[in-house]
């Protein structure tokens, strides 16, 4: 056997130096300096830096998700702010940031805030200019600016309507003209502007004079830019060196002003009250705040629709009669009535979902039965006539039943409608909130630590237990949890037996040869095939071909509405099973290979058949490995979203895939999925700011789920290895 060896490997640098010496071998001396290079410490640090980058990134990411996910539901104090333009805003501070206020940001502000901001900026502008003038820097900076200013002026001309429409030759002629005009007038430009700036600085210290100087040039330039006729523009450019100077001076001043920025603190208020203000969130900069307080009785209302409401309770009305008019009393009454109203609301909802749903289901069932008869016997046949009569009778009964339930619902609604809460918003508008609409309300600034904890926990419980509301941005994710779990379990049921079969075949039965090696390589490769490809396959093969055939045979009455012919739980599970099959096969094969040969031989030597050996000796030993493979597959399957988008995951599923109605597991239904929920909230939501906290909590949930599965797999792997180590010796 030859050892393949690269020559430099055997020759460390010291020896190279030693042989360079022609003299008889000297005693090797310790050369400290060389050791520095040989240890390559900086490069080792670079590799270590790579490792730590990975670790820091993953830990940072997990901490971010953890922090955001955990802190989201904590109830915050409600702050009321009076702005300088006399608006009142009430809400929770959802985040804050610092930004650099500069002249460019002014047009986005309201007139009053604009004045405040301009004053602040002018002061800063003045200070910066004064410093530059004093240091003698201004002249140099202005000289630096003349080159870009030229280009900017060119651009300004290009954007002028007549020039923009002009043909190529005229335009270039114009630009040449402008260039010449600017160059001649700019000879003393910087000097002249510095004098002007100096004068403006001396006039007043608030920066107002400086601002005026600049604004003057700006208006000049704007007037010039709107000149309608091309030839007039050209003529003015040719003659008017002063104009060219003004264009340049405006640009120079705005470039200088661009470097002026006031660091400013701003906060994003969650203001709610969407039906009144048309927005959920508002940014408030610190300089806009005139007064700020935390009103004692500011109440946060979480509602069934329109998102949150922030306001001060004014009156509690029962049946039109005011029951209480001062906050503490109102709150007491509210706490008394709210539970019973909500109980009625829940009862109403149960009626709606269960009883009305049951009636609809029966109606649909009858209709389908009739349609089936029609398909079998034709529309005019005797059988159809009979079935049709039965259908009409049933129909009438169900209509009656429906009317009865409807009446109950209406009654409950009417009772609930009596309870209204009159609320006043920060800017004095009044709004009446039906108690039934309020999911949760709390006087945020009255709560102690324990009270907050209570709200926090109740929100988590709602999150884990309830259906989503408000286009998934509020409420819970129970359907998504159900969907994820059901799909993952179904997937494992499909993937494990087949994966194990395939691995057993490859490892125990197939004759080892080039064919098996190729199959093995192919399976390894499939693990790297993009998941979306499996999704494409699932949609095309399972849904459109197999599903459509199933519909033709078993659900013809429902056509053209597809039953299995579209994305659903079953097809999603099968698609993911196919996707995770390589994982299971590879893991199982490794587990099988890890069973020592001696044990197999021992068993066979005792006279056991091959299957007996596999069943009694090999499989039990390999079981932990197989389990690891399964759990890894589940972890991968649970986190995979791309194929699900094609084969059945939806934004909002009206019915759970698993419920109390026969046959309990509805394989054909589309379902919600935590991963898809994240995609939908984060990417397709209308109100992405409001959806953000929800995305983080959902992410936390999903990551926790997957981390648990992974940790379990790693633990199992560890146990398995220990077992083998002890068995081997």
């Amino acid at each position: 056997m030859t050892i393949v060896y690269e020559p430099p490997v055997a020759a460390p640098p010291q020896s190279a130096l030693a042989t360079a010496d022609a003299s008889p071998r000297r005693k090797r001396q310790w050369r400290g300096g060389n050791s520095v290079l040989a240890f390559g410490e900086p490069l080792v640090w670079l590799t270590g830096g790579g490792l730590l980058c990975c670790v820091v990134m993953i830990v940072g990411l997990l901490l971010l998700v953890l922090y955001q996910g955990i802190s989201t539901f904590w109830p915050l104090a409600v702050v009321q702010v009076q702005t300088t333009d006399d608006h009142w805003i009430m809400g929770e501070v959802s985040r804050d940031s610092t930004f650099e206020l500069n002249y460019g940001g002014l047009p986005n502000l309201s007139p009053t805030s604009q004045a405040t901001a301009r004053r602040l900026l002018n002061q800063q502008f003045h200070a910066a200019m004064a410093a530059w003038v004093e240091d003698g820097l201004l002249g140099r900076r202005l000289a630096e600016l003349s080159e870009p200013a030229l280009r900017a002026a060119e651009r300004a001309v290009e954007l002028t309507p007549p020039v923009r429409d002009a043909a190529g030759r005229e335009r270039s002629e114009l630009l040449t003209l402008l260039d010449r005009a600017l160059r001649t007038s700019l000879a003393d430009g910087p000097q002249r502007l510095e004098t002007q700036v100096r004068q403006a600085l001396e006039q007043d210290t608030s920066g107002k004079a400086l601002d005026q100087l600049w604004t003057g040039y700006r208006t000049q330039q704007e007037a010039w830019l709107t000149l309608p006729e091309l030839d007039r523009l050209a003529a003015r450019l040719r003659d008017d060196a002063e104009l060219a100077y003004q264009v340049w001076a405006d640009y120079a001043l705005s470039l200088l002003a661009n470097e002026v920025a006031v660091p400013m603190h701003r906060r994003l208020f969650r203001t709610g009250n969407f039906e009144l203000t048309n927005e959920h969130f508002t940014w408030i900069s610190q300089f806009e705040v005139a007064a700020e307080e935390q009103p004692a009785w500011a109440v946060v209302f979480e509602r069934l629709s329109w998102g949150r409401f922030y306001g001060l309770p004014k009156t509690l009305l029962v049946d039109g009669q005011p029951m209480a008019t001062e906050p503490a009393g109102i709150w007491q009454q509210f706490e008394r009535y709210h539970p019973e109203v909500r109980a009625r609301w829940h009862q109403r909802r149960r009626l709606e979902i269960q009883e009305v749903g049951e009636i609809n289901r029966r109606l649909e069932h009858e209709r389908l039965a009739l349609r089936q008869v029609e398909l079998q016997h034709g529309q005019e046949s005797a059988a159809w006539q009979a079935a049709e009569q039965g259908f009409q009778k049933q129909n009438a009964e169900l209509e009656q039943e429906f009317a009865r339930v409807r009446a109950q619902i209406v009654e409950l609604d009417q009772t609930n409608d009596k309870y209204q809460l009159l609320v006043q918003t920060a800017d004095g508008q009044e709004k009446s909130l039906p108690l039934a609409e309020i999911v949760r309300a709390y006087p945020a600034n009255q709560l102690g630590g324990l009270g907050r904890l209570g709200i926090y926990l109740s929100r988590w419980i709602e999150f884990l237990r309830d259906d989503p509301r408000e286009a998934n941005t509020e409420g819970g994710v129970l359907p998504a949890i159900w969907g994820t779990v059901a799909m993952t379990l179904l997937m494992s049921c499909a993937v494990v037996p087949f994966g194990v079969l395939a691995a057993l075949y490859l490892r125990e039965y197939a004759k080892a040869g080039w064919l098996v090696s190729i199959v093995r390589i192919a399976i390894n490769n499939l693990a790297g095939v993009p998941s979306i490809v499996f999704g494409v396959f699932g949609l095309g093969f399972f849904c459109y071909i197999i599903g459509a055939s199933v519909d033709q045979v078993f659900y013809s009455a429902k056509l053209p509405n597809p039953t299995f012919g579209t994305g659903g739980l079953f097809w999603a599970a099968l698609t993911l099973a196919l996707l995770t099959l390589p994982v299971v096969i590879v893991a199982t094969e490794e587990a099988l290979a890890a069973v020592p040969r001696s044990m197999r031989e021992g068993s066979l030597a005792c006279g056991a058949s091959k299957w007996q050996t596999i069943r009694r000796i090999v499989l039990p030993r390999a079981m932990p490995g197989i389990m690891t493979g399964m759990i890894l597959a589940m972890a991968r399957g649970a986190g995979e979203v791309a194929p699900l988008m094609l084969v059945g995951a939806v934004k909002l599923a009206p019915e759970l895939p698993v419920d109390g109605v026969f046959p309990y597991v509805h394989l054909e239904r589309s379902f919600m999925h935590l991963g898809f929920h994240i995609y939908d909230l984060g990417f397709q939501s209308q109100n992405s700011e409001a959806a953000k906290p929800m995305v983080f909590t959902t992410t936390l949930l999903l990551i926790t789920l997957i981390a648990l599965l992974n940790v379990f797999a790693i633990w199992l792997r560890g146990r398995l290895r220990r077992r083998f180590v002890s068995n081997a010796f």
Binding site: E41, P42, L51, C54, P148, G675
Partner: protein, 867 residues
Amino acid sequence: MPEKLPTSTPRPRRSRITKRSVWLADGVARSLITLGGIGTILAVSLVCVFLVWVVLPLFRPAASRVASEVEVPASDLLRVVRAGVDEYRSIGWMVREDGRLITCQIGTGQVLQEVELFSGRRPTAWSFSDGDGIEVATAFADGTVQLGRIVFLTSFLDAQDVPEEVHSLAAGEIRPFGDAVFELTPEGQYRRQQLLVRFEDPVQVVESEPLVLVDQSISSRGAIFAVLTASGELHVAQVTKKKNLLTGKETTRLREGWLNVDLPQGRLPQYLRLAGLGDAVYLVWEDGRLVRFDTRNIERPVWAEELDLVEELSERVTALTMLVGKTSLVCGDSLGRVRVWFRTKPDGANTPDGGTLVAAHELSRGGAAVTGLAASARSRLLAVGQADGRLRLFHVTSDRQLCEVSFAGGTAELSAVSIAPQDDGLLGLAGPRLAFWRVDAPHPETTWASVFARVWYEGYNEPEHAWQSSSGTDDFEEKYGLVPLVFGTLKATLYSMLFGAPIALLAAIYSSEFLRPGTKAKIKPTIEMMASLPSVVLGFLAALVVAPLVEEIVPQTLTALFTIPFAILLGGHLWQLLPAKVAVQAQILRLGGILLTLPVGLLLAAWLGRPVERWLFAGDIKAWLDGQIGSGLGGWMLMLLPVSSIATAALVSLLVTPRLRAWGGHWSRPRFALLDLAKFLLGCALTLGLAYAASAALAAAGWDPRGSFIDTYVQRNALVVGFLMGFAVIPIIYTISDDALSAVPESLRAGSLGAGATPWQTAIRVVVPTAMSGLFSALMIGLGRAVGETMIVLMAAGNTAVMEWNIFNGFRTLSANIAVELPEAVINSTHYRMLFLAALTLFAITFVVNTVAELVRLRFRKRAFQL
């Protein structure tokens, strides 16, 4: 079994014959496992087979067969101005130039109906266009124009609803009754087709002057028509109808304009065509002269351009039509050529509307003169009839001939051709004969060339790669070029590998060579956990957290790419200053020291960000990237800095280090370390200086890097995707490389260390070269994952199919494209199959990459065993 041991009863004699049940179980298990195993493997391979099976029909050639060829009695088919066929391919209709409409049965030639359209008045010009039915415009010698419509109204009736006379119909038989035609369909229903012809009142365009040419277009602005009078006046008019709400009376209002056409030698043009939007009128003379008028302002038409459709002097234009949407002009000539012209808007065109006509496609060349042209009403199909009786079907955009048919009766001159409304048949008239061919061409627009090469789409200035699968208008042509998507995929892969691969490889080297086992047991699973993070989480973080953050701190981010390695290397150099003894003792703290350098690097970036922006990017990097301000210097710096740092490193290690070693090798360790630090700092300065000098030179030469790898900033861009997708591929590359490095036999390491090499020398000269193929396969597998990653690019890449390398712009990858479009694609449509082709491409790319990786890995494993 164990419980039997303690019993003291005499042991039963052991049976030496294997029980039948054992045999049975063994056999059953064997066959079941074999069957199941092979079945599973086959099922998995089904994925690939199925994709191919769906994709193949895209490239199948079109099939055609003669459905019927009959003689239509009692009609002069040579004078037919337009022929057609109904949606169900059973009834043919033709309009003769004398104003007579004849319908006949396709299969037998039996005449079903004959209608006099204008009760004896003879039109002087006709125009037909596809709209809601067939829109007809006719012009008369008295200067009037009549607009109208021919429609087949179809209804399905049950047996009890049809009149007695048609009850006796056999399946497939057609019988006229009353004003309609009945046919018994194979499903047992009666199909009633009623021919509706409605003409509106004549519109007087000019007083008592004959009109010689007419054309009309129905656009969103209403009906627009153009006519030419015998004296060469071109009139363009827009018809608006107003209904009086009180009286219910409809009033027609004309908004018109006209101009005098310059007639060479008094010859009138042969053809007049009005563009679909009514914004251009084309006049074509028989000798090929074409004049285009700009009618964007209908009241003031102006001359736009003039060109020659046929270069050869003696040749003539023999047929002219327009494709669906009436934007492309198709011209057939006496040489048998068919060329497609449309308006492009090249820079510097000197026409009033900035457009010029170009011959974008040449479909056929040679053969007999073109005598009939017909465009499909729904696609870019074109039927070409020739004087020798050949009828050919082309797809214009893909320049592809789909099929060729000809009359059985020999070489008769085709007088009129037509494409069936569903694009599934061809109708040809020659002399008294009428022939109908069934055509099966479900995907005429796709060829290998149209998918992977540049295609000249209507209205484009030049052939381009494009993917655009949907639009608001009906006559929009889908563009299925996969190249932009493949490009996007490669771009995503490139940038994520640029970020992820170095980090992962460095990390693997450190963790396999320098990390203590205890620490490694903690760190490795942590990084492996990254692999199981759902990519949707990374995608959402990319889109909602990282993209907005990076947008705010672009200069800082770019600076950090350089300051972090700088800080780490600086840390290493400072560490060297420690005396040897201390350094050995402090080895445990090294990782902590490295950890400390990361925030230093970040702080350095935060601190330097603004000044760098001011220095290189004129104070505002986004405006700079837009190309508004500043020179190309900053961009060159950005791109040349890595190059110059590599050059400097090479220079230093080749020239400076050996000298340094000879000169100061005998110095004490700290003293030499100081020298090394100085060398490092000088090297950094040299790097900067080199990059600056080169950038300044390039910028001074007038080259600007903007427009290549850096350009306008978009919030969702390749930089962000590179970060997060790098994040996704790091764990895979790391794990596999670490395994490969750890698999290098311990004996090699021991030998190297024993020979006096330092751990670093051992790592870089012994371990890494030995594990090289393993590292390579790790990179390939990481590449495979990056290629197929869907959610991150879907959420963070912006999904516009642009083809530019700009790191600050988005892209659209194959995978994201599939995820976005497949749910809406109609099953078995071209779009659907194209998306499957996209999936197949993805499959093929990853399969090839993974196979290469696997083969390399196997080779590596073999080699590692040999060592």
